[in-house]
Symmetry: C2
Subunit: 214 residues, 2 copies
């Protein structure tokens, strides 16, 4: 939607979705660049529920704060499940190499698996980034790629696992290897394992080899 | 927030934010796994505006559909700007190699740059993924990594550029190279250029070499 940038407009939009029994699962608001007036912003909404699409769109278009409504496919349809790789640059890049090449083999057969990475340093920074994985949309797997991780990072690994996201760690110094679901020495294999597990085509199930080191 | 999974609850939450003059910029709703009751979900909300945090939290906690409110740092603070790489697996992996290593050098000095990838094949699939970059939160750069891209993909490149996101293409067959801001032959250099441009520390500005081929 192109909608007016005012704090009450979202309330009106949420009310319309509620009236049509549509459950909003994601909203993202971003300032327009070049394409629309300064007082308007782009609002991206993902919803679920059995709705009559034409009625919903008409109701949204009739709101005073909304100037345009366009239907797109969801991020889930387009970018699919996300494998998240966090750690040191050299190792993150190698895990990504394995993961991207394996994702290519699955996506070519119609799946959608993304490989998202951030190279970071420091226990506090890493802990923040690991914890935030549990809140990331469509995150399906975390790979920790480094040479030394422990302390608060290990506690964050436990929290990510408790949120239902499995964790693979490279074989490294520190306590993180005792908290991960799987420990893998070769970074390329770690990336391949990660994608194989989240794929709905592949036969690999990480939990069948849980606790093992490769 | 841990909130009840009902379509009207979001309306109540949006109303509270509006009453406190807080502008919601992102919402993400996800089913709880393991941590809470089936009838509740995790709701992640990013907001901006000058608010009294304690008052806002108290008002949210008083809503009948909300059972818990926790303050986290935003995805922007933790994962920062995103470089998006789309294309064929072999080349996406090489661009990622350059981008992740360059991001490492910036993030180690306190920046936050993520490198997010998806390997895909086919004009329609690629066009969808390229177009969706304009709607992705925090997307700051798109790199197209392949050997042949044109047709509708080139039109999508124009739309992404119009949304304010610059586009780098590998030197390849097809018309996409005529639409990208920059054409780069070496995939590792393409990844490095991409991160250098989005970095606020680096001196490189893609628009100063716009239209060139390296």
């Amino acid at each position: 939607m192109i909608a007016r940038n005012k704090s009450g407009v979202l309330k009106d939009i949420a009310t319309v979705f509620a009236e049509h029994n549509a459950n909003i699962v994601m909203i993202h608001l971003e300032a327009c660049e070049g394409q629309c007036d300064e007082t308007y912003e782009e609002l991206y909404v993902e919803f679920e529920g059995e709705i009559i699409e034409d009625h919903l769109i008409t109701s949204l278009q009739n709101l005073p704060g909304v100037s345009e409504v366009i239907i797109h496919r969801s991020f889930g349809d387009i970018y699919g499940k996300r494998v998240i790789i966090i750690g040191g640059g050299a190792q993150v890049a190698q895990v990504a190499l394995g993961a991207v090449n394996e994702a290519d083999r699955h996506n070519i057969r119609g799946e959608r698996i993304s490989v998202d990475t951030i190279p970071l340093v420091g226990e506090k920074t890493l802990t923040q980034a690991v914890d935030a994985v549990a809140r990331l949309p469509r995150a399906s797997m975390l790979v920790l790629a480094g040479s030394l991780m422990g302390g608060d990072v290990s506690k964050a690994v436990d929290r990510v696992k408790a949120s239902g996201i499995p964790v693979i760690a490279l074989n490294m110094a520190g306590t993180v290897v005792d908290h991960a679901d799987l420990v893998v020495t070769d970074p390329i294999q770690a990336g391949v394992f990660a994608v194989m597990h989240v794929s709905s085509i592949a036969v690999f199930d990480l939990y069948r080899v849980q606790g093992r080191k490769f």
